[in-house]
């Protein structure tokens, strides 16, 4: 039963993340929205895994992989934003 709720919650997160991506005011918020979307997809995978008893190990492994990939991408995006900020504040830096 809880699987249903979390699957729908997962959808909600994906849609909210997508919405946030389009309407964000800042690059950092775009990155956060993408991560929200990612959490939504992970939730869908884990909800599907929880249909079984014991819980399906494969989606859990996939989500673990996904979390590490997500943080790597976040770190890269932030580094780019920081570099961009240093150009904007000091154009002669180029």
């Amino acid at each position: 039963m809880s699987v249903w709720i979390y699957s729908l919650c997962a959808l909600g997160l994906v849609l909210i993340g997508l919405y946030g991506l389009v309407r964000s005011h800042h690059g950092l918020q775009q990155l956060l929205s993408i991560n929200v979307m990612g959490s939504g997809v992970f939730m869908l995978l884990l909800a599907l895994a929880a249909r079984h008893a014991p819980a399906d190990a494969v989606p859990q492994a996939l989500v673990l992989t996904g979390i590490v990939v997500a943080i790597s991408a976040l770190a890269l995006g932030l580094a780019l934003l920081r570099r961009l900020a240093s150009y904007d504040e000091d154009p002669s830096h180029e």
């Binding site: 994906v14 991506l21 780019l80």
Partner: protein, 471 residues
């Protein structure tokens, strides 16, 4: 033996790429060259291996990962090897390439090899992510605000595309309980979940292939990047996402790929061809012209895919030569586009400027590069007797057989547009009244690399019936 070659395709570039992190900068070029050479050799070797499936860790397929070596993956690995190898030569000679380029490029190359080999949808996602991280970082190598901005935009679009793809993977696993492409295609049925999975994964990959209307990140990213990076992105990285589309539509979701679905692809492709061509005709900058050309050409590839989907759906054409045509077109474009970008970059270096109004003198003094560009344009427009011509011939005859008159017309108009904006560029080298300008010294070997790729795009067609008759 073949297992070692396949394993080496992924491990060799990644290990050498990782090593560039700890080596002192004088040695990085050496490590990069060694990595590139090894990967090139392995990539060419793999083309001669028999088609096979290799299970990693000897685990039976649905449980473990498997690597699939068939005509498509072999050809694309070999193509990546040749084009990548020549671009590496260019990068080696290019003084403005920072040493971190090699680590990133080898990572991207290893990711591409793993991508072409894999037969697992989630593993495809992981390789795609490794490729994205490397490619975005390569765009950001150029020390300018515009490049960094382009890199960030590329990252955002790419990540969103990956999320959509992963959503599709989740739906597929929820519906079928397996991640292996072969098993999925066997069990695929026409229902809402599968159709939605196809739609969502296609959207994600279309964003990564820069198909209209999700194309706007490409012209900036490909034009602001370093020359070697632009060539890598346009010729190779874009093709990986297109390869994903091929595998999805022709293999995994083949049961769902109906004629009406192919119509959607065809419409998007046509929009890309016309919009890309129009922008290439009107832009004022050199590398941006070439980048918009990529948008248009990718539209052409998608059009070919739409036709192949239609052919498979209606069973009206013998399916043997269908994938060969697509791979041929990919190869022709990769060779021609990399040649064009490298040559354009050399000219831009000489002229010291990217604006079309200021490069005329440099073009007149870069005969080898201009010749390379000419050959590239000829091949991309599909004029005889180039690889592009053979590919276009295949495309048009397929459209004729399917009686897809509209797509035929679009393809022909696309060729005309390519000729038009190609001529627009090449015309600059023929103008009589050009003011002499000081030219930056640029090594001539760069021109020769570009010419080498362009020549391959032209002569690659000769004696190639072994490819068309099925490897």
């Amino acid at each position: 033996m073949s297992e070692w070659v396949m394993a080496g395709l992924v491990v060799w570039p990644l290990i050498w790429g990782a090593l560039t992190l700890i080596l002192p900068s004088r040695w990085v070029l050496f490590a990069g060259a060694l990595g590139a050479l090894g990967t090139l050799a392995l990539g060419v070797w793999v083309v001669s291996l028999p088609p096979q499936i290799m299970t990693l860790g000897n685990w039976p397929t649905p449980l473990g990962l498997s690597w699939r070596l068939d005509g498509i993956s072999q050809s694309l690995i070999g193509l990546t090897a040749v084009v990548g190898g020549l671009i590496s030569v260019y990068a080696g000679v290019d003084k403005s390439c920072p040493s971190v380029f090699w680590g990133l490029w080898l990572g991207a190359w290893g990711a591409m090899n793993a991508l072409f080999l894999t037969a697992d949808v989630f593993h495809f996602y992981v390789t795609l992510e490794l490729l994205t991280v490397s490619a975005v970082a390569m765009v950001a190598l150029t020390p300018s605000a515009a490049a960094t901005r382009a890199a960030f935009r590329y990252l955002v679009v790419s990540l969103t595309g990956s999320m959509f793809f992963l959503l599709g993977v989740a739906l597929l696993y929820g519906r079928y309980g397996v991640l292996d492409m072969a098993i999925l295609s066997e069990q695929m049925t026409m229902d809402w979940v599968s159709a939605l999975a196809l739609a969502v994964m296609t959207i994600g990959l279309l964003a990564k292939t820069a198909v209209f209307p999700l194309h706007s990140w490409l012209p900036q990213a490909h034009s602001e990047a370093l020359t070697a990076v632009s060539a890598i992105l346009s010729a190779l990285v874009i093709k990986t996402a297109f390869y994903g589309l091929m595998r999805l539509w022709l293999d995994v979701f083949a049961t769902l790929a109906t004629v009406s679905a192919s119509m959607v692809l065809g419409i998007l492709a046509s929009a890309a061809i016309f919009w890309g061509g129009y922008q290439a005709l009107t832009t004022s900058r050199l590398k941006r012209l070439v980048a918009w050309s990529t948008v248009a050409q990718v539209g052409g590839l998608l059009l070919a895919l739409a036709l192949v989907v239609q052919a498979q759906a209606t069973h009206s054409v013998q399916t043997a030569s269908l994938w060969q045509g697509l791979v041929w077109l990919i190869g022709a474009h990769a060779l021609a586009k990399s040649a064009w970008f490298l040559a354009a970059g050399t000219v831009q270096k000489r002229a010291g400027s990217d604006y079309l109004t200021q490069i005329g003198f440099a073009m007149q003094h870069s005969p080898i590069s201009v010749f390379a560009m000419t050959l590239a344009v000829v091949s991309l427009s599909g004029l005889p007797f180039t690889m592009g011509f053979i590919g276009k011939w295949w495309l048009l005859s397929l459209a004729w057989e399917l009686q897809a008159w509209l797509w035929m017309l679009v393809s022909l108009l696309g060729s005309l547009l390519t000729l038009a904006y190609g001529w627009r560029l090449l015309n600059l080298s023929l103008m009589s009244r050009v003011w002499p300008q000081p030219l930056n010294p640029v090594s001539v070997s760069k021109d020769w690399v570009a010419l080498g790729l362009a020549l391959l795009a032209v002569i690659g067609g000769f004696g190639s019936h072994w490819f068309w008759e099925g490897i």
